[in-house]
Amino acid sequence: MRRHRIRALLAVLIAVILQTTVFPRPFGASPNLVMLVAIGIGLYMEPETAVVSGFVGGILNDLLGNTILGLWALVITVVAYGASQYRRQAEGNLLRMIVGIFALTISGQVLFGIIGTLFGQGFLADTSLVFGVLLTGILSLILAVVILPLVSRLVAGGRWFALVGPGPERGVW
């Protein structure tokens, strides 16, 4: 189990590095890779690991970006926790999984915009914010088809390319 937790943190670290490099930005937006990996860990591992991974990924995202320190940490922690709580509803159901990932990604972006604005970042002044948030949600959903099976395989020993396949932690529920 300890090895799986280290792998989860490693997955988050890789996601942060990729997110902050010259990641492809089709149509001027990019999928939120760190949030997606945190959602994957929430869906495939126990909630504690998801929350810790979300926080670590968020803090790294903050440290390597130019937003307020702690903002992404808060948002991705909440999203990872949400994913771990949603896991029972999504289990074995591809449609629910898709809806859940999309909703969690959008919620995370909206939460980030609202809290950031409360802390004086002026995100809501961006008139194209709604379009950007939706586009990021759609791109994240597309990328989820590749990323979630990888996360499943890496952190939970799941099958390659199995988006809704069972992980070893399922039994605890």
Binding site: V16, I17, T21, P26, S30, G65, N66, G70, G122, T127
Partner: protein, 287 residues
Amino acid sequence: MLNARRRFDRSTALLITFVIISIILMTIDVRSSSEGIAGSVRSGTQAIVAPIQSAANAIVRPIAGFVDGVANLAGLRAENADLRAELDEANRRLAETEPLRSENEELRNLLNLGSLDTLQSQIGRVQARGSSDFDHSIVVNKGAADGVVVDYPVRNLDGLVGRVVSVTESSARVMLLTNPNHAVEVLVVGSEDRGSAKGRGASDLQFISATAEQEIAEGATLVTDAGRYPAGLLVGYASETAQRQAGFAVQTPIAPAVDFTTLDFVEILFFVPVDPAVQLAPAEGTS
């Protein structure tokens, strides 16, 4: 059931703890204006991760180029034709303005002012972007070791990109013009109208002027005014015509001259605004 309950409680307790820690960190960071401990930790992390990001870039950049190419395939032919036409027009204008350019250079020399062309600078390459679409900043691979300091302006071939906000030994973070926390003093070319251009994220910049006397026509060119930036750097073009109404400031969106989604090479200008009037660093050659 009991096991599941205990796990739920532990994860909820962890969530609450991390949320509280995050809020404390945000408060400290905002109160210290991203300096102090938060700034030091950020610079330290950036310095550690910079080599990994460079290596990752070597892998990701060709893939990013391919994806962008595929996404823009349909428009490439038309864009090529447009660019050729624009190039012809630009060459014609360049020939027409050459005498004015010489005259400007001569006047600058007489007034003991430097020129943008002779300003010392460093060419850097984008090594990392902001951590999300909300983060309007980039990291370039030139830092304190190359003579870069905070507040230096950054441009590319198209125009003003932003300014340096933090520096490590080998890299510098640049706040882009589009950042909602960024504003630049601008001048409308062909008039004496001045104002500021404020970033609004992915949207166009917003030009605001309380003193503009004339209408700002759609397509009007806006350049930096003397002050924090050297005068004359291209910022963008008015997207809409704005008329002055009594008692109200003139406002209009500005389409930035720079495409911030495809930034690659940038030039960091060694410009130090010693005086509110235009002051340029001594020219010692461009590296």
